[in-house]
C-alpha cells in the first residue's frame, strides 16, 4: 500500500466499509479496545452509530426552545406596543376598531405562534450551520471517496493517545473493512 508512505503526524487512518452494520460493529469494537476514534463518515445517518461512537446528545433542542421563546416575546411586544401602548419615547397608534379592546390577547395568538415558529425554525437551522461550520465555500475536512455514496468510513486519530496501528488494522479487517488507508486533512 503506497499510501502508507505518506503517513505524517497529522494523518489519519481510515477503514472503509460497505455495509452499515459493519461500521457499526467496527466502531463499537474500536471504542471498546480504547483506540481513538476521530469520526465516522457515512452517506446516511446510521442508527446507533452515535452511541457506538460515544457522542453526546445534541443540544440543538435547547437552542430551538430559546429561539421560539425569543420569537414569541418579540411578537408579543410588537403587537401590544403597536396596538395599545403609548410611551412618551416611542409611540404606537392605538386604533379603535368598532370599540373593540386594544389588547385582545386572543387576537394576537396567530401572530404569536407564527413568529415563534419562524424564529425557532430559521434560527435553529442557522445555529446548526454556524456550529458545524457549514457555509458556501467550505470544504469537507477529508476527501474520502464514496462516503457520500455507498461507503462508510471509520477515521482514527493517529496522533491521539492510545493509537496502535497494528491493533487498529486487525480490528477493522476483522469487521469487514474493504480498504484501509491513510488520509491527510484537506487544506
Amino acid at each position: 500500500m503506497s499510501a502508507r508512505a505518506t503517513q505524517a503526524a497529522d494523518n489519519y487512518l481510515v477503514g472503509y466499509f460497505v455495509e452499515d452494520e459493519d461500521i457499526l460493529a467496527a466502531t463499537k469494537a474500536t471504542r471498546q479496545a480504547g483506540l481513538p476514534i476521530y469520526d465516522c463518515y457515512t452517506p446516511f445517518p446510521v442508527h446507533g452509530l452515535e452511541a457506538a461512537q460515544g457522542l453526546p446528545r445534541s443540544w440543538m433542542t435547547y437552542a430551538c426552545f430559546l429561539l421560539a421563546l425569543t420569537g414569541f416575546l418579540t411578537s408579543l411586544f410588537m403587537q401590544s406596543y403597536t396596538q395599545a401602548i403609548e410611551t412618551p419615547l416611542w409611540s404606537g397608534w392605538p386604533l379603535n376598531v368598532g370599540g373593540k379592546p386594544f389588547l385582545p390577547l386572543t387576537s394576537f395568538v396567530p401572530v404569536l405562534f407564527e413568529l415563534a415558529v419562524l424564529f425557532a425554525g430559521v434560527g435553529t437551522a442557522l445555529t446548526l450551520l454556524a456550529f458545524l461550520g457549514l457555509y458556501p465555500g467550505q470544504k469537507p475536512k477529508f476527501t474520502l471517496p464514496g462516503t457520500t455514496d455507498d461507503r462508510f468510513a471509520l477515521v482514527l486519530d493517529t496522533a491521539a493517545a492510545g493509537f496502535d496501528e497494528s491493533k487498529a488494522r486487525e480490528l477493522m479487517q476483522r469487521h469487514g473493512a474493504s480498504e484501509i488507508s491513510w488520509v491527510a486533512p484537506n487544506r
Binding site: 461512537q53 385582545p104 396567530p110 407564527e114 419562524l118 425554525g121 457549514l134 457555509y135 470544504k139 455514496d149
Partner: protein, 481 residues
Amino acid sequence: MSAPVSHLRQPLVLGNPAYAQITNDVLKPMESWPSKLWWGTFAVTASWLAIGLGAIAWQQYEGIGTWGLNKTIGWGFDITNFVFWVGIGHAGTLISAILFLFRQKWRTSINRSAEAMTLFAVICAALFPLIHMGRPWFGALWFIPAPNLRGPLWINFRSPLIWDFFAISTYFTISAVFWYVGLIPDLATVRDRAKHPIRKAIYGALSLGWSGANKHWVHYETVYMLLAGLSTPLVLSVHTIVSTDFATSVIPGWHTTIFPPYFVAGAIFSGFAMVLTLLLIARKVMHIEHLITIKHLENMCLIITATGMMVGLAYMTEFFIAWYSGSNYEGFCFVNRAFGPMGWSYWIMFSCNVISPQVFWFKKARTNVVVIFIMSIVVNIGMWFERFVIIVTSLHRDYLPSAWAMYSPTWVEFTTLLGTFGLFFTAFLVFTRVLPAIAIAEVKSIKKFAQPHAHPAHGHDEAAGGVPGLAHAPAAPEKGV
C-alpha cells in the same frame, strides 16, 4: 441465524438495489441531457406561464377592473385560486413533517418532491393577493409591520388578513428551510460525483462543505426532527388562519366555526391529489418506479379517501347546522348554494370530492396507475370548485335581493389561473433537472426496511465475535418482486 423478515410489510424499495444504484437512479435525470418528453412538457408549461405573465401585466396596466367582479361579488377567482394553491402546498408539509414524526418510513421516496411542490404552490398562491392589491408595490407598506407613511400608524393585528400574511410568509420560509436542510447531504453527493468544474463549484457551494461526518449527523438529525416538529403545527395553523379570513366575517356561509378543521382536511385532500398527479408522471419519466412504488401510491390513495370523507362530513354538517341554527339567512345561503343558479358548481364539488374517492375502497382501483391519475385530476377539480362554491355562492345572493348578482369570470382571470399552473409545472420540471428529486440519503437509510434477509442494526453482540461472520455473509439472494 434467522434474520427478521416481515411477511406483512411490503418493502419500501423494490429489488434491494445497492446504495450506489440508488444514487445512480436518482441522479441520472440530473446528469443527462433532458429527453424530448421533458422538453415537450416544458414548452407547453412555459407557454402557459408566458400567457399568465401577459395577463398579469395587462391587469397591472389596465387595473383589476378587467376581472368579472362586481359590487356584490367582491371576491372571485383571485381568492379561490389563492386558497386552492395554499391548500395544494399542505400535502408537502404533511408528508415531510407529520409523517416523519409518525415514523412513516414510506414518506422518504416522496418527501423531497412534495416539499418542492409546497414551495411552488405557495408562490402561486401568494401571487393572487399581490395582484389583487392592484398596486402591489405598495404591498410592502400595507402588510409589513412597520409604521406607514401617514405617521406612526401601524397595521391592525386584530385582522385575519394580517394573520394570513404572517402565516403564509412563515409557512413559505420554514418550508424552504426544511427543504434546504434536507437537501444538504444529497447536494454533497451530487458535488462528489460532479465532473465538470462549474458543476462541482455550484454544488460545492450549495452543499456547504457537508462531509457526512457522524458528529454532524447527530446535530443534523436533531435539527431535522425539530423542523418537522415545528412544521407540524405550522401546517395546521396555515389553513386554519386562511379559513379565518372567511370565518371571522358575518357573511352567511362563511361565518362558521367548522371552517378551520374543514379547510385543513380539504387542503391535505387536494394536496395529496396534486402530489399524485406529479409523482405519477415523474416516476414514469424518470424511471424510478422501484423507488416510488405502488405501495406509496396506495397509501396516498387511502389518505385521499379518508380526507375526502372528512370534507364530505363537513359539507353535510354545514347543511345541518344551517338548518339547526334557525337562521333564515344561513338556511337560505345553503339551499341557494346547492339548488340556486350556481348549484351546478356545488354538485361538481360534491361528486368529485365525496363520491368519486370512494372508488379507492377497491384495491384494484388504488393500485391501478391510470385510475389513480384520473382520480387525482378529478379531486383537484373538485377542490378548486369547493373554494369557488364557498366564496362565490355565499356572496352572490346577500341580504338584499336588489343586490343579487351573478359572476362570470373574464379571460383575464382564466389566463391568470392558467399562468399559475404554468409557473407550478415549469418550476417543478426545472426542479427535477437541477436538484435530486428523491431524498437519496433517506431512501438509503430505509433500504433495508422490511427487506428479506435484512440485518438488524441492533442486537449484534460484537464482543462474542459472532458479528464478522454474519456481516460477511454473502449478499442475500434477492427476492424477486
